[in-house]
């Protein structure tokens, strides 16, 4: 090959680089290792973690990341070469597999959320939230965003990071100390004629189900859009979706992956038809080929960075296609009835445990709730649980200083009665 190019040695390929930029020493990285060594390394690192699921620890953490069974078919299908090692489906004729699956994904998300349009995924819910906010700003021509404090604290942090240099004033309103739901009076007094969107989450960070209809009415009365966020996708199997909202932004981790120390996940944005040109991210559309057969392709690409550049709806390029495919397979396996049954199991487990503890809030909840500790500190409770190989709930004080000595506990279909009994015992 060097002969064909007309060079005598491989180093000649970089002979033209200025000497000052050539790295001549060795990288301080161990020489290449075998598969067996590599796997051993990761197993050893794995053993240094408390591992949830199966025979490891039982984990009562939720707070945006959930432990759910994964149907075996999910990994079987995404491990297929043609899904795992294929590229973004820009060349429609040789990507119909990916495009068809994306179209099905988009359809399912619309059905689950009550929206008309869903994109092919965002990085995660935390970045989907600011993208939804920016959609609302473009659509309304207004500049302010009003967010409920009961939206996941890290999502709100990311919203702050994203909007800091775009002249977008952010304001927050609180929750009802008794129910854990939105403080409606606070919402009414905080919303203004400059509010582009009100952002709420349901179930919210405390696991409490919100009265979305009330929030929609107030937002729309003031000419603002309502953005509804979800972090526990399994809730969509049982909860009435926010059909009157304008934009839904959410996290699909529950449908796709184990907790994975926080990523990669997949977010999604869905919206009403009128906002279709404002939605960021890829969209797969149905069309025909030259012979009149149904085919799919990426569409409305002129919203995107590779065409609009600085005027694009977002800078997003790579998305989370494989994760969205995992979610699609998960949803196909469970189907209409399975999602409901799965959600009912989650609901039942969490309510079993909540009955034995002191829930801080009186509002309706799905599979997470805030428990108030009395006799002991949450730190002591969690330490005691650790000795029983149980990872306890999330102490909320660091995010909500007013919620002293509380923890957010999550129970899913994976949680066992015996484990919940142990938690109740330690609390007592």
């Amino acid at each position: 090959m060097l002969d064909t190019i007309g060079l005598s040695k491989i180093e000649d390929l970089v002979a033209h680089l200025p000497a000052a930029v050539r790295f001549k020493s060795q990288l301080a990285i161990q020489p290449g290792r075998s598969e067996y060594d590599i796997l051993d390394y990761f197993k050893a690192r794995g053993a240094e973690n408390a591992v949830g699921g199966g025979n490891g620890y039982s984990c009562f953490l939720g707070a945006g990341v959930y432990n759910h069974y994964r149907p075996v078919l999910v990994d079987t299908i995404v491990s297929r070469s043609e899904f795992l090692t294929s590229y973004t489906p820009y060349q429609a004729e040789i990507s119909q597999g990916t495009l068809t699956a994306i179209f099905e994904f988009q359809s399912m998300i619309c059905q689950l959320t009550g929206m008309d349009v869903a994109n092919a995924s965002m990085y995660d819910a935390s970045t989907a939230v600011p993208e939804a906010a920016m959609m609302a700003i473009r659509a309304t021509g207004r500049s302010n965003i009003l967010t409920a404090r009961s939206v996941h604290p890290e999502y709100r942090e990311v919203l702050q990071t994203y909007t800091q240099h775009q002249g977008i004033p952010l304001a927050e309103f609180g929750y009802d100390a008794e129910t854990g739901q939105l403080d409606i009076a606070a919402l009414k007094s905080s919303i203004t004629k400059d509010t582009a969107a009100v952002i709420i989450q349901t179930p919210n960070f405390f696991g409490i189900v919100e009265d979305v209809k009330q929030a929609v009415a107030i937002a729309h009365e003031h000419g603002a859009l309502l953005v509804v966020v979800f972090s526990e996708a399994v809730s969509l199997g049982l909860l009435e979706p926010p059909r009157d909202a304008d934009i839904v932004a959410g996290e699909l981790q529950s449908f796709a992956l184990p907790p994975s120390y926080g990523g990669p996940f997949a977010g999604v944005i869905a919206c009403k038809e009128k906002l279709i040109r404002q939605i960021p991210g890829r969209l797969a559309g149905e069309t025909k080929d030259a012979n009149g057969n149904r085919a799919f392709c990426l569409t409305l690409a002129t919203r995107e960075q590779h065409i609009r550049r600085e005027k694009a709806t977002s800078n997003i390029c790579t998305n989370q296609a494989l994760i969205a495919l995992m979610a699609t397979v998960f949803l196909s396996v469970y189907g209409k009835e399975g999602l409901r049954e799965l959600a009912v199991q989650n609901l039942s487990k969490a309510h079993y445990l909540a009955d034995k503890l002191k829930p801080r809030f009186s509002g309706p909840f799905f599979n997470e709730f805030v428990a108030q500790a009395d006799a002991k500190s949450v730190a002591d409770i969690n330490r005691a649980l650790e000795t029983k190989k149980i990872i306890g709930g999330l102490a909320l004080e660091k995010f909500y200083p007013e919620l002293k000595n509380t923890m957010l506990l999550c129970c899913t279909e994976m949680t066992r009665k015996t484990q919940m009994d142990q938690v109740a015992e330690v609390f007592a």
Partner: protein
């Protein structure tokens, strides 16, 4: 003559919705060991959905047949070369997949106490260390989820660093050859964009740059090698010009596959850069993601890195949130951990000795292809190519055939097209990056195909104009898809 493929029937398959039938089931949950709760009672009837209208109900066999059939309609790296420029479509090692699925890597919750997550944090630390070695930078964050996300993080940091000196400034300079994410990102970070023209050799025009840099310029976003696959030979000078006026140099690391182990951006004046783990570091594209876009910086930008940062305290790893100058969080939790595991497995497999060898192979492959195709396709810039080369369709368009049409005919030869019509500074571009994965055999097949098409354009142009001929679908009507978007299934 088409050598790589022969026609083969592929299975038809409808949508899941068209397979659906009430009562079909693909799942079985364990029995509930606690009493079943009445949803309407617990949540309120108004909060409970009655059913998910028209949601599919299919069997397990339906699911596996459906997706298996769909998968066979895709091209993939495992089937052959993807010559996509700047995408670095290299082999996705399966050991990476095994590593990511180790239970101790997968079933760990980000909010677990630090004391119970030391293994995960060690993995993050090790990857950080390796990437710093490779980039020659001083500090790094693995939080961003993709390249564009990393770009945004990097520009935010530039803003913060300049604001700390009293003036964040107003604009970012971007070469006209840049990827679209660059200007889109600058805009999201609140900056105006000013284009810097490329000179006659396709590189940053240093005179134009010198004129453009003033106290309003926060920085410049540069890709090196650039999107022509050419090393910016004046990169150190570019850095100096910017630094002299207090501006910073951002490097888009999409083309690191040309540099890993051979040249370090930290050594040629880059202040901040991102990497694409799903390009250079072999993590799978998966039909469009996930990726990961770490951002590496020089020491003076370290205080601005996103929170939290990994820190070592009392011989233990911990997440440090006490970083008052940080730009904030750019996403929840710590990063695309599963992608980080795969990238580290890749680095471990190659090792410090193997990484530069892989880079040399990438350069070799690109130059080999270039040499074989130069007699047939116009090479607009006669500079040495690094890991990719860019041709133009100048000769073929005289005969009425453009780069997109050539690309469609390439599909009949069994290859995925190269990058069409990018970078914009080349009219009718064909951007080709083979990566080190490809053997001479595959490269020869590719060159044969491209040469054969060049001949077809002269002898039997209609065959090319109406391509592709052997795909499952004929050319797809993208115009109607955009005029009348149908983006979800509806009954009836």
């Amino acid at each position: 003559m088409i050598k790589k493929v022969r026609p083969h029937p592929s299975q038809n398959e409808p949508l899941l919705y068209e397979l659906s039938s009430p009562g079909k089931k693909g799942y079985q949950l364990p029995d509930l060991d606690v009493p079943t709760i009445d949803a309407a009672e617990a949540l309120g009837a108004g909060n409970t959905r009655i059913t998910i209208d028209d949601f599919p109900e299919v069997s397990e066999v339906d699911v596996i047949r459906h997706f298996t059939r769909l998968s066979t309609w895709n091209y993939a790296i495992d089937l052959g070369l993807y010559p996509l420029g700047s995408c670095t479509m290299k082999y996705n090692p399966r050991i990476n997949e095994q590593a990511a699925r180790v239970e101790g890597m997968a079933w760990i919750h980000p909010y677990q106490p630090d004391s119970l997550s030391q293994g995960a944090m060690q993995v993050i630390s090790e990857l950080e260390r390796c990437l710093l070695q490779i980039t020659g930078m001083d500090a790094i964050t693995l939080q961003p989820a993709a390249g564009a996300h990393g770009e945004f993080t990097g520009i935010l940091m530039i803003h913060a660093a300049l604001a700390a000196k009293g003036n964040p400034r107003k604009k970012i300079l971007i070469p006209d050859s840049a990827h679209g994410t660059n200007p889109a990102t600058a805009h999201m970070a609140g900056y105006a964009v000013e284009n810097i023209p490329s000179n006659a050799r396709g590189m940053v025009d240093v005179e134009a740059l010198t004129r453009a840099v003033n106290e309003d310029v926060a920085g410049m976003m540069v890709t090196n090698p650039n999107t022509l696959g050419v090393f910016e030979e004046n990169i150190s000078q570019v850095a100096d010009i910017l630094h002299a006026k207090g501006a910073l140099l951002y490097m888009d690391g999409a083309n690191m596959n040309a540099l890993a182990g051979l040249s370090r951006p930290g050594d040629f004046g880059v202040d901040v850069m991102h990497l694409n783990l799903h390009k250079t570091f072999s993590t799978p594209h998966g039909g469009g993601g996930p990726g990961s876009g770490p951002v590496a910086v020089k020491q003076h930008l370290e205080p601005y890195l996103p929170i939290p940062r990994l820190a070592r305290v009392n011989d233990q790893w911990t997440w440090n949130y006490d970083r008052p100058q940080s730009v904030g969080r750019v996403r929840a939790f710590y990063g695309n951990f599963g992608v980080l595991v795969r990238a580290l497995a890749y680095i471990m497999a190659h090792g410090g000795d193997g990484l530069p060898r892989a880079t040399f192979d990438a350069l070799l492959n690109a130059n080999y292809i270039r040499k074989l195709l130069e007699p047939y396709y116009d090479m607009p810039y006669n500079e040495p190519s690094m890991h990719e080369c860019v041709f133009s369709d100048a000769r073929q368009s005289k005969l009425g055939i453009d780069t997109m049409t050539i690309a469609k005919r390439l599909i009949d030869y069994g290859f995925h097209p190269y990058t069409v019509a990018f970078p914009l500074i080349v009219k009718g571009a064909l951007m080709i990056e083979p990566t080190e994965t490809e053997s001479k055999r595959e490269l020869d097949l590719f060159a044969d195909a491209m040469i054969s098409i060049a001949k077809e354009i002269e002898e039997t142009p209609d065959l090319v104009k109406t391509a592709p001929h052997t795909t499952r679908t004929a050319r797809v009507d993208e115009v109607t898809a955009a005029r009348k978007p149908i983006v979800r299934w509806k009954r009836g």
